[in-house]
Amino acid sequence: MRNRKFILFALLLTIGLVLAACGGGDNNENANNNNNDASGDNGNNEETTDFSAAMVTDIGGVDDKSFNQSAWEGLKAWGEDNGLSQGNGFDYAQSDAPEDYVPNITRLVRDNYDLIFGIGFELKEDIQDAAEKNENTYFGLVDDLVDSPNAVSITFKEHQGSFLVGVAAALKTETNKLGFVGGVDSPLINKFEAGFIAGAKSVNPDITVNVQYAESFGDSSKGKMIAADMYNNDIDVIYHASGGTGNGVFNEARDLKNAEPDRAIWVIGVDRDQHEEGEIGDHNVTLTSMVKRVDVAVQDVTKRAQDGDFPGGEQLEYGLEENGIAVATTNEEAMTDDIISAVEEWKEKILNGDVEVPSTRDELKAFEEAL
């Protein structure tokens, strides 16, 4: 009995000690941290720039192989050009759920970042709010519009790029059946859909496009299921605009290619050049990718802000002219010279204004009737 009490006492004492040690450690560490931070900042001021920028991802995260990653690459490139390191001049805050957006933005404001990007249309309201409450901080929003003198909106003409990959798909298909896999059925993704269909039908009006939405940007098993269904029904080229869901599309295409290397099936990637995703043995199922240069835009805006020329209140729209949109030609085997020259031809037509690419379903309807 006495023994038992003793053990209990010893246990309590140990826990107490551990906790006390933790507590003491906290303070020391904090003090050290602060010192480090302070000296780090001072060092910065002498050597490089004192301008700092950070970004808040949407739920995709910085390793989404898509536009969050692209934005982060742009920010990193800017930071490295200026001799900064992560956490010391530039940083990102990852959001695991929509409820994380506000705490993440506030945290970066509190840490005195001069320019804060919100990546993705989901952050629209939160960036708008933050911009109104923090007039001395610059904000940027990718993929949607904000309205505040200290905030800039960065959007892309995704329909233009989607039109061009639609042209490529139409020239590549043997069955005249194409597939489109969207993430969430929303105005943004409808832009991809409308552009793609318009591009394909401009080349060959007989082509049919099967449109499916996964209702998720992160459900790769759903993507795989939809892709399996499409490839089963004679569709041979699928364009995905669905973030992480698209990994399932690539997965299914690689599986099929692995089983039947002679079968012609293709995926068109989105946002970044998804060439690596399509590699299977000696083959590659990635026909091309609709590249959205979020990195270029982020780097550009940060640079302008650093130079005191922040485009506050403006709505920047990056398209083919601004090199904000491009079509990947990494898969040289699949993208033959004929296809590339046709894509270039249509690109000229878009740049000249001969072709007005539809960006909504309504515009697409009018476009198809005019064909």
Binding site: R4, A93, P103, T106, E122, E215, G218
Partner: protein, 349 residues
């Protein structure tokens, strides 16, 4: 023996949390991070200033309610995996009422909150009915109901509440739980009056379970359905009541998000995870109303504080998920802790 059991019920979660944090520290050490720095960042992230305290309370609020939803059903021996779907329909219904009706606050706000609870209750009623009348296992039905809720609410947002937009307009201010006073106190965090509702709900659950005949019957059904039936209780009725009330709690959690945190509902590209976290909260809280409040607070602190870990200490946020998983693991393996404690005792004698 009973007092011993009560003591165990209290000690095991505490030890589990401690072991979970300890294991998290070891993982941080092994992956080359400083655990003290990591945990102090976590602490700062949850209680560092007024804003984070406000956000911690906000994050805790729906977790209390989903925790209650799971715990309440479990008291009658039912696994309510459907809290997730009940949250979504509750959210939708509350926002819908907030948007569609014009009324003074004293009518509008209670009506919107009630709509959320009713919708959640309805979503609990279906599996309850199927379980009671046809004996279909509630786990399967509630999982299915989650998907039905997710896709139906997305479709309603798209086609009924808006014209193909990704989120609805903001609800009328007369239906809003948000409080400028509280927000002003906490540097514009999204704290809202919902936490009072959540605590009130916990008191209701405690009262229902411990102090009423309905609660007694619900517990009896949970302990032994056959014995309850033999002693003249209506088992089917009790199963349905239990699921409806559980669903109502989860629906309230959705109403908190809709009327308090966001003030609208957006297209969901996946589950909110509030309902699934509720399962863990209920488990850690030992299915006890006040245990659930404490467990929800712990989860709120961990999840809110996690945001500070990458920027404050370079530790990835995923680590917090690992710690939470480990805590759950230790709670679930409470048998081992119990065995170890008993072993200690024997040696002592």
């Amino acid at each position: 023996m009973t007092s011993n059991n009560k003591l165990f019920a209290l000690i095991i979660p505490v030890i589990s949390v401690f072991l979970g944090l300890l294991a998290g520290a070891i993982i941080m050490l092994l992956s080359g991070y400083n655990p003290i720095e990591g945990y102090s960042a976590l602490w700062r992230g949850a209680f560092g200033d007024a804003f984070t305290i406000g956000e911690t309370i906000r994050r805790t609020t729906p977790l209390i309610l989903t925790g209650l939803a799971v715990a309440f059903a479990f008291r009658s021996g039912l696994f309510n995996i459907g809290a997730e779907g009940q949250v979504i329909v509750g959210w939708l219904a509350a926002v819908w009422v907030g948007l569609a009706i014009e009324a003074p606050m004293i009518i509008h706000l209670p009506l919107a909150v009630l709509a959320g609870a009713l919708a959640g209750g309805l979503w609990g009623f279906v599996p309850g009915l199927l379980k009671a009348k046809l004996g279909v296992h509630e786990v399967i039905i509630t999982i299915m109901m989650n998907y039905i809720a997710l896709y139906i609410s997305n479709e309603i947002i798209r086609s009924v509440l808006t014209d193909h937009a990704t989120k609805t307009d903001q609800i009328a201010s007369s239906a809003s739980l948000a409080s400028e006073w509280l927000q002003g106190l906490t540097y514009y965090s999204r704290i809202h009056y919902g936490f009072l509702i959540a605590i009130f709900a916990a008191v209701i659950m405690w009262f229902l379970i411990q102090r009423t005949t309905i609660g007694y019957e619900l517990k009896a059904v949970g302990f032994n359905q056959h014995a309850s039936k033999y002693s003249g209780m209506n088992v089917s009725k009790n199963i349905i009541i239990s699921m409806v009330i559980a669903g109502g709690f989860a629906g309230l959690a959705g109403a908190m998000e809709g009327l308090g945190t966001y003030g609208n509902i957006h297209l969901m590209s996946g589950f909110t995870n509030l309902g699934f976290d509720g399962i863990a909260v209920a488990l850690l809280g030992a299915n006890n109303a006040f245990g659930v409040v404490l467990a929800a607070l712990l989860f709120g602190v961990l999840k809110e504080g996690a945001g500070e870990m990458p920027t404050g200490a370079g530790v990835p946020t995923e680590l917090v998920d690992i710690i939470i998983a480990l805590i759950i693991f230790f709670v679930a393996s409470s048998y081992i802790i119990r065995w170890a404690l008993l072993r200690f005792k024997k040696e002592g004698k």
